[in-house]
């Protein structure tokens, strides 16, 4: 069987930079994501990974261009970017803590007005994260850290993303929970969902990602194939420059 001939590049970013006040937190970067890919963004704390995610969504003032499926992603309009299918699970999860789990999921599907489709997506999230099912009526803030991360991912899936961006989903979680979440992300990706996964702990994603960008002091220092990385020393070399 031959694959249909179509441009496989879904996201292309050129010269994207971001500044907070007078500080350029993200120096111009270029990156791209191909259809069905899981791309990792690695780097130490403060390398600009979260800023890159926020810049992609237009949450911070930026320069440069972001194109998604050939259409320009508007700057400074994250709601519009979300409507295009670019969905970010932000650092710290960004769940609506005083609201119930059910309400959080409902807001994930804010742009959807089709009840049947809503039920379909809801079922899918419940299948992926059965633990959320028992907690639908609870406030999101009462969940454990792992459950909150599942809710954040579940909420993002409710919008049926075309590209899922995750900013350090492992932060503050127990290894067993991290493994569970990464496994789910792997499943989603194998089912065709392109993912950008930001991580500080590189070893976590090396088995999942086919490509990884290494960030350092506000810019992309290297692009690597994680499968080629033989040792932690080699990776440390990229981190330390």
């Amino acid at each position: 069987m031959t694959a249909a001939v179509e441009p496989s590049r879904i996201l292309s970013v050129e010269g994207l930079s971001a500044r907070y006040g007078h500080v350029e937190a993200l120096h111009p970067v270029d990156l791209h994501v191909e259809a069905g890919e899981l791309v990792a963004v690695l780097g130490p704390n403060g390398a600009g990974k979260s800023t890159l995610m926020r810049a992609l969504m237009g949450l911070v003032p930026t320069q440069g261009s972001v194109a998604f499926h050939g259409h320009a992603v508007p700057r400074r309009n994250p709601a519009k970017a979300a409507a295009m299918g670019l969905v970010l699970v932000p650092e710290g999860r960004g769940i609506f803590a005083p609201m119930t789990v059910a309400e959080n999921l409902e807001l994930g599907a804010y742009l959807l007005n089709d009840k049947q489709e809503f039920a379909r997506r809801h079922d899918r999230v419940m299948t992926l994260f059965p633990r959320l099912k028992e907690r639908l009526a609870q406030t999101a803030g009462s969940l454990s850290g792992g459950e909150q991360q599942m809710l954040a991912v579940g909420r993002a899936l409710m919008s049926d993303p075309k590209l899922l961006l995750l900013d350090e989903p492992s932060l503050g979680l127990a290894p067993r929970v991290i493994e569970e979440i990464l496994q789910t992300l792997g499943e989603l990706n194998r089912a065709g969902l392109p993912i950008i996964l930001v991580e500080q702990k590189a070893p976590l994603v090396l088995t999942l990602a086919r490509r990884a960008y290494i960030m350092s002091v506000g810019s992309i220092a290297a692009e690597i194939d994680p499968r080629q990385v033989k040792s932690h020393d080699e990776l440390a070399h990229f981190y330390l420059g």
Partner: protein, 290 residues
Amino acid sequence: MLDLVAQSILSGIGVGCIYGLIGIGFCVIYNASGIVNFAQGAFVMMGGMVTYTAFARYGLPLPLAAALAIVLVAFAGVVLERLVVRPLWNRGSTMFVMILATLAAQIVIERLALLAAGDQPRTLPVFTDRPPLRILGLAVNFQFLWIVACSLLVIVLLALFFSSTKTGKAMRACSINRDAAALQGIPVSRMLALAFALSAALGAFAGILITPTQYTAFNVGVPFAISGFIAAIVGGFGRPLGAFTGGILLGVAQALAIVFLGSAFKNVAALSILLLFLFVRPTGLLGPAK
């Protein structure tokens, strides 16, 4: 004496409902944006003045005039957001600048009302023109019943709006975490405009309800805004139900101060309550919203 006290508590509750509605208006905008909208009083004044104009000048039936006023004032709320708040917001101005801008807007609206409608106080007829009911020896006039019933109705409707509609939930999401709300595709700036419309409509409604028992004029806005602001602080800023409770507490305290100390002490009582809460319980009755 006891009768007099009971009677003034009753009238305090009536005025308190009005303060409470205005206080809720403060909360709605504050929750959506963090802005304390000092033009809130202008909405109250406009509610009464527009209703008067439509009713007395143009001969519209009172309910229609009131409905028209609420819609027009809600629209004025959106205009205020678009014209004054949004440009500052987009430029990344500090909260302080935006709050001062709403105060400036209050002055502008007040002066425009003076130019357009003159400085004469206006009033509206009571909604039900019948002698007061006598309940347990107390005279309960119909306007009081209108005020209390309408206020409670508005609160129930608001609670339903925020708990059961998608738009209401989206507004709550914006108040909890604006960035996260935007990431769900919620049009955050449209929610802000909606908050101004809702808040303005609440103010106008309060202004219409209270006008038959008092009067309205170009300059009634500021005193009402101050009372509503105190109600919101007493309740715990950003907590609608708290603001309503705070409003009633304030109304009753003022009424009692008038009975026992004389009418000159009305504002003393209001500001004393404010100070008392700021010293003893700065988070208000229900605690802060965030």
